[in-house]
């Protein structure tokens, strides 16, 4: 059973002469629990794909089935709910709210639902992220790696079925990159989360179960690294 399936997914930007087709009839299936790496040149449409899957952008045409619901047809409130509960999105830049403490930033998706995370799970995540002594700090007082880890924590807090990461290590040094990739792999194994990871880094891609290559908005290769 596929957790994620797209049919003819297309996204165009602009109109007339300046129109750009960022994503061109992409058909893609992802099984539950798979760790997928997406690679491709800059401007090939990787981010666009991830944003569409994450429900933060709307396709020009095509369908996106998540657990058999076409999210392209959801209303605004339902789509927001989807973003909150079903997916975790991690951008290249840290994208934390600067005025909220690290703890609140991590808990944000649940707080927006007027819920508090279970203490055990929260402590577990924070321990794994190594942010235990930084919870009351503001994001600005954290290093880049720590901020990215907080962003990952936020993506994990609701235990979403799908984790989407757009070059999460693009701005980090070797050591931080390794730590974060192993964190993602841990989460993938521990919670049976499906992960789509956009990366430039060959080594990082090789950690995945499957590598998809995109060029000019089309999938040009799709191969399994591991069965």
């Amino acid at each position: 059973m596929d957790i994620l399936r797209t049919e003819g997914l297309t996204r165009k930007y602009g109109t007339g002469q300046t129109m750009v087709t960022a994503l061109d009839h992409v058909d893609l299936q992802v099984e539950r629990g798979q760790f997928v790496a997406i690679i491709g040149a800059s401007g090939s449409g990787k981010s666009t794909l991830l944003h569409l899957l994450g429900g933060v952008d709307r396709p020009t045409s095509g369908k996106i089935f998540v657990e058999d619901v076409d999210i392209a047809t959801l209303g605004e409130e339902r789509l927001a709910q989807y973003r909150r509960r079903k997916v975790g999105l991690i951008y290249q830049f840290y994208n934390l709210i600067p005025t909220l403490s690290v703890k609140k930033n991590i808990c944000l998706p649940m707080l927006l639902d007027n819920k508090e995370p279970g203490k055990e799970r929260f402590d577990d995540i924070v321990r794994t992220l190594g942010l235990g002594d930084r919870l009351e700090h503001l994001p600005g007082q954290l290093s880049g790696g720590q901020q990215q880890r907080a962003a990952i924590g936020r993506a994990l807090i609701y235990q979403p079925a799908i984790l989407l990461a757009d070059e999460p290590t693009g701005n980090l040094d070797r050591k931080n990159t390794e730590e974060i990739i192993s964190l993602l792999k841990l989460s993938n194994r521990q919670y049976k989360q499906t992960i789509l990871l956009v990366t430039h880094d060959e080594n990082v891609a090789l950690e995945a179960d499957r590598i998809i290559k995109i060029e000019d908005g089309k999938i040009i290769s799709d191969k399994a690294v591991r069965p």
Binding site: V56, A80, R83, I97, L112
Partner: protein
Amino acid sequence: MNIIREYSLDQVRKNRRTSISIIVAVLIASTFLCTLLVFAQSFWNQMVQQEIYTSGDWDAELMDVPADRLGMVRDNAGVKTMFVKGDNQTAFLPEGTALPYFLIQNCDSNYWDAMYEKNMILRGRIPQAPGEVVVSKDFFSQNQTYGIGDTLAVEIDSNVRTHMEGSQQKDAASLTIVGELDVSVSSGYEGYLAYGFMEPDELSPDSEVVVYLQMERRGKVYTAVPQIAQAIGLPKDEYGNYPCRYHSTLLAWHGVYAPGSFFQSDVPKLFLGLLLAAGASMAVFAYIIRGAFGISAKQKIHQLGILKSVGAGPKQIGRTVIYEACILSVIPILLSMVLGYLFSFGVLSAYSGMTSEVFGSRMEVSFSPAAALMAAVFSFVMVLLAAHGPAKQMSKILPIEAVRGEQYSISVKKAKSHPVLAKHFGFLGEIAVNSVNAGRKLYHTCMVTLSLCMLLAFGFLAAFTVSDISNAQAENRNHFDVNITLRTGERIDGALLAELKAMQGVQGISVYARANCAVWLSGSDQSAEFLQAGGFDGADGYIVERDGRYRIPCVLVGMEQDAYENVLREAGMEALPESSAIIVNSVAKNPGARDYEAMQETVPYLNLRQGQRVELTEKYSDDTQGDYEFTVDVAAVIPSMPEIGLAPSFYTLPVIVPMEEYYAIIGNFSDEMEVYNYRNYVNYVAPDGMDEEIQGEAERICSAYLGSSDFMTSSKTERMRNRGRMTGATMFVVCSLAALFGIVGISSVLSAILNSLGQRRKEFAMLRSVGVDEKGIRRLLGMEGFLLSVRPMLIGLPMLIIICAAQCYMMGVSIVEFLCAFPVWVLLMYIVMVLLVINGIYMLASKKIRDDVIVEAIKDDTV
């Protein structure tokens, strides 16, 4: 705390500059609204107080109430307070007084408290015990030996209007004079008016009194009072009404109307006007403040995008803006109450200082909790209205677009080339035009805000100027220089009129009285010329048609016998038939005409001939109570109204009769109309510069005969001076409100500019890093400031000119006259100020930007 609320609060704290600019805008706007309401309430209060001062604080009046029923009235649950006047007495004065009687009306203590007579006491105090009286001023002037404090031995004749005529008895009594009263009564009564004191409980049961009521619930007065009248057994009159009257002016100010008269009153119109003014300014302010919220939202757009992408719903995103609005508006709205009060206190004090001589009283500034609450609600609604747009916009935007911020949406717009500017300023000129175009929002804000403020403030000033000019023009066409109105409610004393007619040094005089009436005619009675110009059927609203008959409004004019005969003689008539009348047979050819000359053009009105008999009726409108009918014989038909200072309304037929006949006719009118129609008008033509002197002399003559509320004098010079004062004072109020608008407009434009420049620091640094030098930056920004400040003026000014021209056209005022009176310098000042402020800001900003370290500015990037 809810995370959205916490986020909003944090943002407000963090973004000081935007928060402050919103607070300032809300503060000034709510101060304006508060001021508007304080003005309105003070005006209302003034009107109510004035009404109470001149006619007393009562809601309804019951006449002919037998004294033994007073208890029933007092105990009625609907009655709050009752006061009584009546039990009239005639006191025969001791030998040696100029006139033989005091005509005494007795009033109880409630009456003295609530009614207006106490305001007419010139010296002394109000009576506080039976046997004390205040006496009209002519008693003192005619009997110099008497003074306040004197006790007179008199014989009292209780001429109670009972059915026992003839059984009058005289009792010896003594009266103590405790005060002098500014009232009068016609010399025909051979007595002096006096007011005494009575205890209603001690009235003899068969005496009849007038009862005034203040109601427990004012709104019910029109139903409750007839019920009271019925309960105490008062008889109905021939029209089926109880003998009661209502204080309809005062009731109207309190929003209480007789059934069906709501739309005839001015109060709802004034209230509607106030609501419109408040609504319009709320809308304008909301637009301006909306800009500030928009800026604030734009600044947060990246964060809102993050919130969205982690799952905040559109409602939650919208709420961040609304919460921000609430948090930011509480303090300024509270503060605006104080500021609004202080501001209106200042303005109104100045206003009342300037107009107190015109009105004869100063205006009190009043500010009630209700008005404060209303101002707060208005302001809050305005803020929500302002925040609504940006809130909706933010909640609709795609999360990823928000996360990216605005960088894409601008660059995709194709740069427009601007040949003229490009030629003179080259590449930089083009960049400036493009960056103004790119900052569309900023441009729009400046545009709309500045031109709206200009239009509102100066459009209103223009309207005011035009109506002022047109009033002055009307005044100049006035043939007479001094006008006197005598309104005693009864026939004017012949001695007084004789003295007025003998006035020295006047070049012309007219004396007349007038009463509205009507004549029913058929279509064949209209003249051919009039028929051609539209006829009866073209006079909608003036002439009523029923069953093929037309009701033509008439004005019955009474002229002194000699003047009447003069008019007849000029018409070539000698004979003076019984019950004769002169008909002025002319009607405006085109009453809709705009300019004065065309409006004056007349044609013959009716096919009336000398010797014809015309049947007239008192009932000139369906609401007129009486329906007395009378006939006059046409002694002469003349083509135009004699110059007596009376300009008949459109489609109104003047019917001139000798004064004696006039009085004989109106004596049969219904009581209320009879009393009203006793008014006499005396007009003088004065030599240049003498009008005030003659007015003073007339004033002196009249006050020797009449109480000061029974006559009114005015002169051209006085009216001109008063108009000048009123104009100055009103201009002051309008300008002060306009200034508030201007401050809001300019301050919000400033914050928009500062914000836009701040956001574009990076852009400028980039330009510098690719080699644009300091001079270039200065020119670039100078140009942008110039375009931004000049464009609103270029759009606003023509619109303003159109508005002014339209007003001039409609009121028939020439452009030159308008330009002489319109405060052009204020407009110029506003324009210069806008140009200076905006360009000044750009100059400062350009200095700061040139001082920026390029690398830091480029690095200063949060995303």
